[in-house]
Amino acid sequence: MKVALAERLLEARARGQTVCLLRFLATGEEALLVAGEQVIGAPLPEAVLDAAQRAQRYDRSTTVESEAGPVFIQVFNPPLRLVVVGAVHIAQALVPMASLAGYAVTVIDPRRGFATAERFPNVDLVDAWPDEAMESLAPDARTAVVTLTHDPKLDDPALDVALRSEAFYIGALGSKRTHARRLERLQALGHGPEALARIHGPAGLDIGAVTPAEIAISILAQMTQALRGRE
């Protein structure tokens, strides 16, 4: 791999662009696609370009056969995102664990003293109201949303936006009773049974979690289950 290619790859990713790195395993030649456009390497055969686009869409690195022998297509997509509502104790465990699992994490909490850099080093913090912040973050199919405040004033607006998005996981902390009341309120906002069934509440797999770290594990495990399609 050429140093210039590796540098170009990381620059593009730092700007949030999708990157596809191709290696011709028979010859050692390499090529780079940034945001779907080839920026390094000899012009690619049509079939290889198509394969690269598919790999990018499905976020799956793969090796394909071509006229020039096997080509390894390595996908560098923007990371999965996790939006946490509530800069609370459990968030302090969930945020580093999710970062380790490869998520770009944003924590939303408008309350004074909660979303601070001392409590949450190296993470994106937003102190806007959850509805406003969520609209701006625009959750997509590679985003998980978890509400942790137990406060309907904060959790409900976030869940309202999440339910209108393609977020692959929506979790809400709180007891079964709290959750039942939450569903009634969200129903009143116009969400039908199918939409409401998307919310994992109480959030997290039932593994008997007690401590904040254990609860964070149960939530991250459930997010993984939703992402990898083993539900």
Partner: protein
């Protein structure tokens, strides 16, 4: 959106972090090799795209298996750092494999080993 209180660096993928580290080693004047899983069959410990970076002082980061083939990969990495062309390594359970190292899990994995130049 309201004020962004702080922004962090979370969300850089493991492979991006490994490439960043490999470039840093290169800038230090070290020779650097990169090994990448390019194909897997059956059960294999690390998915396609997983990387291991190695330098000429024996530093290594990342992984291309649960640890069962790293030794053989590092040996080949040494050769590409010394100027050998990139090489496709094939690890499996078959007796006919050129490599004596098998995968305990019964899977098969191909690893591309190249120098960072």
């Amino acid at each position: 959106m309201g004020r962004a209180v702080a922004s962090g660096e979370s969300g850089m993928s493991e492979e991006e972090r490994l490439l960043r580290e490999a470039l840093a080693w290169k800038r230090e004047g070290r020779k650097v090799a990169i090994a990448t899983v390019v194909s897997t069959w059956g059960s294999s410990p690390r998915p396609v795209g997983s990387m291991l970076v190695v330098d000429d002082r024996g530093r290594m980061l990342g992984s291309v298996s649960g640890g069962c083939i790293e030794g053989a990969v590092v040996k080949e990495a040494q050769a590409v750092m010394d100027g050998a062309p990139p090489k496709l390594l094939d690890f499996g359970v078959s007796d006919e494999q050129a490599w004596e190292v098998g995968l305990a899990c019964g899977g098969r994995v191909q690893v591309w080993v190249e120098a960072l130049t």
